[in-house]
Point group: C2
Chain length 209, copies 2
Amino acid sequence: MKTPFRNLADSQQYHILTTAMAEFSEHGYKAASTNRIVGAAGISKGLLYYYFENKEALYLSTAEFAYDHFTTHLLGRFMTEAEGFIERLARLSRIKHVYFTQHPEIARFVTHMYYAEGLLEAYQSKMQKLREWSLRAMYDNVDMTLFRTDIDRETAMKMIGWTFEGYIKEMEQYFEKEGIDFDQVDTYFEQFGGYLDTMRKLYYKEAGQ
Amino acid sequence: MKTPFRNLADSQQYHILTTAMAEFSEHGYKAASTNRIVGAAGISKGLLYYYFENKEALYLSTAEFAYDHFTTHLLGRFMTEAEGFIERLARLSRIKHVYFTQHPEIARFVTHMYYAEGLLEAYQSKMQKLREWSLRAMYDNVDMTLFRTDIDRETAMKMIGWTFEGYIKEMEQYFEKEGIDFDQVDTYFEQFGGYLDTMRKLYYKEAGQ
DNA sequence: GTCCTATTGACCAGCATGGTCAATAACTTT
DNA sequence: AAAGTTATTGACCATGCTGGTCAATAGGAC
């Protein structure tokens, strides 16, 4: 990253880096095309190489920006309150969902980084930290006594996690096909609440027991 | 597909087509490389174009072979017996798993076809049939009275489906990392049975009720 | 006018692509 | 053994895209 890029307005930096992220997430590092990036970003080829020394430097800047943005915007909101496992996952899902809709390119790119190999050696310790921290976000300060006692806790937690994954994936597919209807947003929340109730009925002790 | 290819021994046809499938599934139609295919298949470039008129014809032959193989090898085994929903999904999972380990390239390619767009217009009606048929395989002749009555059936079935998806995905990831230990295969089955028991405890009426 | 920075897009060599084709190897038939 | 037919090779080609360069120029500051 060269100084001219640093002198850019934040919004323009964000614009260029997120377009690069979209390209990198979709095609991976090698197959990503700088030509497509400049086309999508609306700048000339020359200007990109006036901002960055080469493709790799662009990727690394991109990765650093994404990592920093992700951690500063999410870590803060994840302070753990005491609550049941289902409520915890519900809260995390909502927070993630907000972030994914507000910064979709960054979110997609971070998941790409999470699984990518090769160029990222410099980031693997950071990723490791992220992994550990996301574990804490899931389990720290969770009230485990809510679970019914006749089924294994580990099993229950896995199944609950898969239920959230499945539900989120289904919603994503639905929105991708049908588009989000903002008048119906209440219905979506109701439906989500219904799933939560069902899960409580399945996995928690009966009330008052 | 030209006649010389038709005159080939079945095993050689299978070999070439499955190598092509691997390439197509991994990179998609456009990014797939005929050079890599001939390299992996151990034949010369010229020979490939002696067998097929061009890349598209190769893809179409590949798709047809995969579809036929998949349907003839799976549809037969899917006759529905009366059973609970959990047992049904467990049975389907086992059948699928066997097919995926015996014909991984075909299996991967069929899922690719299932989601791919563009070149497949000719196959979309076939895919539609496959979709309908897989629905029947899931729901036909299922004993719904086993479900406990205080939770919604649709919700329960979705959650059970997600549990299977999650478990299968986790197993795949585990095997990819650690490799399959054939001495431990009993443990895997035990573990799977444990999940089934838990699910029955969660979603079915208590015995004798 | 004179700097200095920002910005362009034509241009380059390199590489991989899908596809061709003359040469030849390997069988069959006579 | 000769002739004919089919299988098989790999060098070769035009094309298109790649990451990256650079002379030209536009814009603003002094």
